[in-house]
Symmetry: C3
Subunit: 431 residues, 3 copies
């Protein structure tokens, strides 16, 4: 059992390390981030050239940026990329010039509702340049003219992503997917790739795995589409359940976004786990999707992929601004997400369809599995789950279904399943 | 788009014109009524001879009436067919004689609970004669004797009905059925045949029709049975959805009576429309049926036919009395029913099963269908329905199902469907 | 129609007669009990030798007991089997000796929460001896030493059970199963075998039976397993519905325990009956099972067997103690259970799948089945159920389903079904 509190500390520390890097859809910030994550688990890092066709999309040019600023006449940087990489609209094309206040204003973006926040904006597929700044900065802007500089490059290069296949007894896979294309924001999105990586490590540390695990860290949308386009048949053949890990470090309770199927194994395991997690939680249908479950669940792709989140995108005020920083994400919250995902993986590993080997109930008493003094009716938990199993292991219901029927978490059944199987009373398999 | 307010006025005017006619199951009143409706749309009028076997029934003799009265000794008509055709029990056999008060009383029908109302009664399949009168008239009846006259004929003739097939691109049909066998009552039943006829006109005026439309105006029960017996296989082969139009002009909000199937296309379209109509409404199961949906939905006939009503039969105090007059039915209420049925027809015409042509999401941005500046999350309606369509058009769900899933009326999707189809991103068809 | 009040009296009188007998899993108490029940209906009594393998179980040695006591130094029996057979732990092995208080205490069982009650305990499959006594008796126990005697035998013999097959028109069977292994307790369990026997008698008295009836009285668990092991294929081929009769005489309202299927014919008939029984009732899923429905519904056995109870095991304070005596079970309560089971049998006998023989509605009026004066809408019960039948007898729904759909008990439809069938309007059979 991993020490989740320690893991929470370690994840937060790694996030702090990665926080300053200027990530985007492509570029060296992504590479740096994936290189650091590869020190934790042995990711394979892939480069896909700009211009590659991926389904309906084309991999865009690679973007890198070194510096950017708006300088007033006194030489003071009134907007400064060095202070926050959020100040530049992602994928801003290079620019240098002197502009009047009126010429500059159409290139500035702020949010009146959050006067201290720098908003996060991008323009991946339409060439423009721009600066994001707080409403207070905007109000304090002098009369100009301003010297404006964006020292970026936007040129053919490649899109970078990482994956890792952790083999198990079966070719059937559990997919964990996250994304690494956001600059300096913590919940959305450093929490996802860091948690994914730590889960990968704990999966590798398991002494036994029934499932294989496919770990994927890509830029959002275009990266997921690229990944799916390169592995479609394998994913369709092998993925038994999957999750998109995003927004897993914020202060809110869990939110689970259902897969498009709405009752897939991914969903059933997540819902069983959440029902007994001791926290209030929310379940949203796939119509509320907004991350890479959009691609995994798209018609024709049809993968059973849900998403367990905390402080879900859209739903917290700091979302997509500079306020989504390392203070919003705590070690305890990361640890809680780590624990939930680990329990879901435990449940997936434990889930099987069993069949009782006897007709009528087996005689548990002669095997020491039931008290010998009859007539009392204090049923302890072990007897309760034994009865559940010998009554419902009919080759048609899996363990998640039996656990749900008895309103208990899958974990409550693991020991009793093992005892009954050791005694030859349960055999795996349907029919 | 038809001007529904004008249509409401015109429908009410036509009802006023038809109101005085003495309609019954058969006879010249029906013929006059259908002749007038045929001035609006080119109905075909059919005559079915008395004595014809129609399934378990036989078309009865034709009934016509010229005059009827109960005259007191002073020569005053104390009950007078000329004042209201409701005064005579429908299908009363001819009678002339002088009766004592005691002899007359068993032939008189009134309602103590509605002392000013003349009730509406019929005796189609059992020979009798009788008068209906208000409770106040009954109480004012003198001592007699009375001269009684019913100048009717009840003799072999025919049953008259009208139909109209409006062709569309497909042989699949929408059935609209109403009935024209009630004498001078407005909501039940002049509202139905008049609305049906106006809908037929507006359907003919549509520039394009996917479905063909079968418009039927028959006497209730025996007429519907006759009609079905003559077109059973065609109806079973072609009818995709149908509605019985009755009681569509009263002051209450909409009531929808489900088809026997309970989830037929007729039902799904009506429920989607009602859910977003802005009025309170009621949904009743088929066990509450009492008009021609009884025949269309009967076992072995099995047509998916529901009924959208206002001030449904049974449920308003004026029902089946002289109080159901032209003041109960307003132009605005007729217009509201016209608008609801038109929206249902719009939804039926728009409903298709689409399939997204890309794997993963299509890139809407490059086609100008999505904003180029990313990171904001103000999703407007157009973006919302586009997302809905590219996520759920999987060849298995029709547009009504997708609209229901997103809690929106079908009309909200029509423009986005067209845009996506024009861009080659949606193809019609399942699988 | 059986006079249920009289039956209640007679059942209670028979219970009083059987109450003193010391029954157990095996032995002469069971034989005596079955012999007396065989005076009511001609049960066949079977003996299965100890040591017989029955699925995963082995029939245990036979237990008989003549006397048992704990005597103090004054020669007074401070615990006396002659006062109550509950004083001895069931299946206690023979014992004789003088024990100190400390040596005796581990063999004594009482319940602090019910200080006046002698608890009921057994040790069928593990050799031990013991006494049950009230907490007050335990507190009054002197210092010892005590002379202890259990005059029992526990030796190869046989397990005894009874069954009866009451033939009907069809080989399909209704199974009624109860058990007779409890010593002097009334609700659990003399009520079950006595009600079962009286139901068997009333079933034999029916002039007509569509179903055959299989009546089974066995010792609980091992007896049911033995019975199933000897008749598995016949039961699987023939049993259309079944019930375990237990705890049917207590003061609480009805509790129905669903079969494992949860929607079997047994369940649907019981739920329809209970919904209109005029009493509050409870429905429990099969996960709450604790009597022989455990065996009948076990995976691979899969019989549709539920259980209608009153004062269900576990749920009344007197359960499994000497307080469960003849005052807890009244003639009226036995009569109420008798009436409910009889109505369920009536519903099973009446239940068929019918098909209307006409297309569109049949003309009921010409057959005198419908009023001839039209226009009124006072629908009486007979007209309501006629309409229900002609609308829903489509060869796919059985009568229970139609009754449920119309929120009425099956009994309301019986007369109308007969009338319609006599008139050739309904034919039995699907499709």
């Amino acid at each position: 059992m991993p020490d989740t509190a320690l893991a929470g500390q370690a994840m937060h520390a790694l996030m702090a390390e990665l926080f300053p890097i200027c990530r985007s859809l492509t570029g060296d910030g992504v590479r740096q981030t994936l290189a650091r994550l590869s020190e934790v688990v042995p990711y394979q890092v892939h480069e896909v050239p700009s211009g590659s066709q991926v389904f309906d999309w084309v991999v865009p040019d690679e973007w890198n940026i070194r510096d950017a600023y708006v300088m007033d006449q006194s030489g003071r940087r009134v907007i400064d990329f060095q202070a926050s990489n959020l100040h530049v609209v992602g994928y801003s094309e290079p620019f240098a010039g002197v502009l009047t206040r009126e010429q500059l204003l159409p290139h500035l973006y702020s949010r009146a509702d959050l006067p201290d926040a720098i908003p996060y904006l991008t323009s991946y597929y339409s060439r423009r340049w721009g600066f994001c700044l707080s409403q207070r900065q905007l109000e304090a802007l002098g009369p100009g003219p301003f010297q404006v500089k964006i020292d970026s490059t936007l040129a053919p290069g490649s899109l970078t992503y990482a994956d890792l296949l952790i083999p198990g007894d079966s070719e059937h896979e559990i997919l964990l997917s996250s994304y690494c294309c956001h600059p300096s924001m913590a919940n959305n999105e450093l929490s996802g790739p860091v948690l994914t990586t730590f889960l990968a490590k704990s999966i590798m540390d398991r002494p036994k795995r029934r499932y294989s695990y496919r770990i994927v860290v890509v830029p959002e949308t275009i990266g997921a589409i690229t990944y799916i386009s390169r592995h479609l048949q394998t994913l369709k053949d092998n993925v038994a359940a999957g999750y998109v890990l995003t927004c897993v470090g914020g202060p809110s309770g869990p939110t689970y976004g259902l897969s498009r199927q709405g009752n897939s194994l991914a969903d059933r395991v997540a819902l069983n786990t959440l029902a007994h997690c001791g926290e209030d939680y929310r379940v949203l249908p796939w119509i509320e999707r907004a991350s890479d479950e959009r691609q995994y669940g798209a018609p024709g792709v049809d993968l059973p992929v849900g998403s367990l989140m905390r402080s879900r995108y859209f739903d917290y005020p700091e979302y997509h601004t500079s306020l989504d920083d390392l203070s919003l994400v705590t070690p305890a919250q990361m640890a809680a997400s780590f624990a939930l995902y680990n329990e879901m993986i435990d449940a997936l590993e434990a889930n099987r369809t069993w069949r009782v080997t006897t007709l009528c109930e087996p005689q548990l008493g002669k095997r020491g599995l039931y008290p010998s003094l009859g007539g009392q009716h204090d049923i302890n938990k072990q007897m309760f789950v034994m009865n559940a199993l010998i009554g419902y292991c009919d080759g048609s219901r899996d363990l998640v279904a039996i656990a749900d029927l008895h309103n208990r978490p899958v974990r409550d059944f693991v020991e009793a399943v093992a005892l009954l199987a050791e005694n030859g009373l349960l055999l795996e398999g349907g029919g």
